[in-house]
Symmetry: C2
Subunit: 288 residues, 2 copies
């Protein structure tokens, strides 16, 4: 495994590999580092499906709001490199902010529609930052396949829309959420949680489980309002939980619905604060 900090050097290395094998397929896993088993599962999927696996680790300032956690976002280069190597990465791209933004970008890639609700409403400018940096990274790495975790389901929807609209020559591979044994979705931000917050944060997966049970029991015989009330009630069991959003929407369009139809897919999407820490989680459900 090789670690690269410069865009030019990364391009050079990938070019060399392609010269050796013109049919080389490149799998790409863009991350913000502080890797966990969720990221490792993306790398493992890329390893299975591609010849060359490229990981990027870049905490992208453009996708953080002025009052968000850019500065304190957890970073651990050594640990990240160990996890990357073990999960099968070939190249790790680890640029400084100045390498990615030598001057403030004047160009923004902006996706309307799917980006506007949920995290897009809570975090203005967030998805413009995501789609812009992902575009930059795609242009640098030029992958055949790019792997994204479904914990950020809205991010996946935004990127899939962008790839389709801009004819980007890459296949997006959404990968399942990875959870702790007790149900908490893995997140680099879990490290922020106090012991008590960590324990109460289980209401997120509990709410999703309750939602899944309801749809299994009732098929399409429920309303969005009922399901929303159920998940809010479940989250309300934690005195520390402060709901940012708790919504049920059509998937992947992220449009609201009143009552589901059989055969439809819906998403239950949650963002909940515990102290200063904002956690997200979701489940995509097939309505019978």
């Amino acid at each position: 495994m090789e670690t690269v900090k410069s865009i030019d050097r990364l391009r050079e290395l990938i070019k060399e590999k392609k010269a050796q094998n013109p049919n080389l397929t490149v799998g790409f896993v863009p991350t913000m580092g502080f890797l966990h088993r969720g990221h490792a599962s993306l790398l493992e999927a890329a390893r299975r499906e591609c010849d060359l696996v490229v990981l990027s680790i870049f905490v992208n300032p453009l996708q953080f709001g002025p009052n968000e956690d850019f500065e304190r976002y957890p970073r651990d280069e050594e640990r990240d490199l160990n996890i990357s190597e073990e999960a099968g990465a070939d190249l790790v791209f680890f640029p400084q902010v100045e390498e990615m933004y030598p001057s403030p970008t004047k160009t923004i890639v902006s996706v309307s529609g799917v980006s506007e609700g949920l995290c897009g409403a809570s975090r203005p400018g967030h998805f413009d930052g995501v789609s812009t940096v992902v575009t930059k990274l795609f242009h640098i790495v030029q992958p055949d396949r790019a792997y994204f975790g479904l914990k950020d389901a809205q991010q996946v929807a935004v990127i899939e829309q962008m790839v389709k609209d801009l004819n980007m020559p890459v296949t997006i591979v959404p990968c399942p959420i990875v959870r702790e044994a007790d149900g908490l979705a893995l997140s680099s931000r879990n490290v922020y949680l106090s012991e008590e917050e960590r324990s109460q944060a289980l209401v997120l997966s509990a709410a999703l489980n309750a939602a899944e049970r309801l749809t299994e029991e009732r098929g399409s015989g429920f309303t969005a309002a009922e399901l929303t009330a159920l998940i809010r009630r479940e989250i309300g069991r934690s005195p520390l939980a402060d709901i940012d959003y708790a919504e049920v929407l059509k998937y992947p369009t992220l449009e609201p619905f009143t009552a589901p139809e059989a055969g439809q897919r819906i998403i239950v999407a949650l963002a909940v604060r515990f102290g200063r820490t904002r956690l997200i989680d979701n489940r995509i459900l097939n309505i019978r």
Copy 2:
């Protein structure tokens, strides 16, 4: 020369050529068709510098405002194909609107700064349409080099900014303006002009010539206000000319200046209406 209407087929053909020659360089000339010698000069430059020359002909609705000339923009497929072949194109990509926009795009690539004055001010949304379609075309063709005429100097500045900001793996090659013997810059829109308008449209190149003479005589000894007054006076010689803008700016930043500095580059940029026809022209001048 081969003509292709489908994105998939174009990608397939380019892939085949690359399989035959892994070091193949692709030169790309994006146009809106109704080709003239200006476009031919771009193709000829691409022919000299690249192995495979791809031309696209697409009148992009996204870069036209609601009251602009999208519908009446001149089109002549047969003539275009003759000119392309003669100028050395290998592949002509000729998509329908539905091929490029199977559904309305939700993704926009937007460049701030350089896009905001001149044509950006007169034609709101125009450069978002340009940068978005050029991004799409770059993703479809994946060229090594892309050729643009300097008659649209602001367009070149916008695209260069976009390529830099988004790390697009392509070299932009700006090419000189091509003119009729009497000085009129070639434009697909010249066909709109009546005989009288055509004759009076010479005030554009005359104004640019006058500006060039002034900078040659005076070096940096003039003000932007003086130069602007001069070009407006020259254009004013035509009773039919209706000035949209006539500006002198720093180049390539397109920022205003009061007095130039020796060694600086400036642009004299004009947009003038003759009846329903809006013509643009410009000259980039090196200040001694």
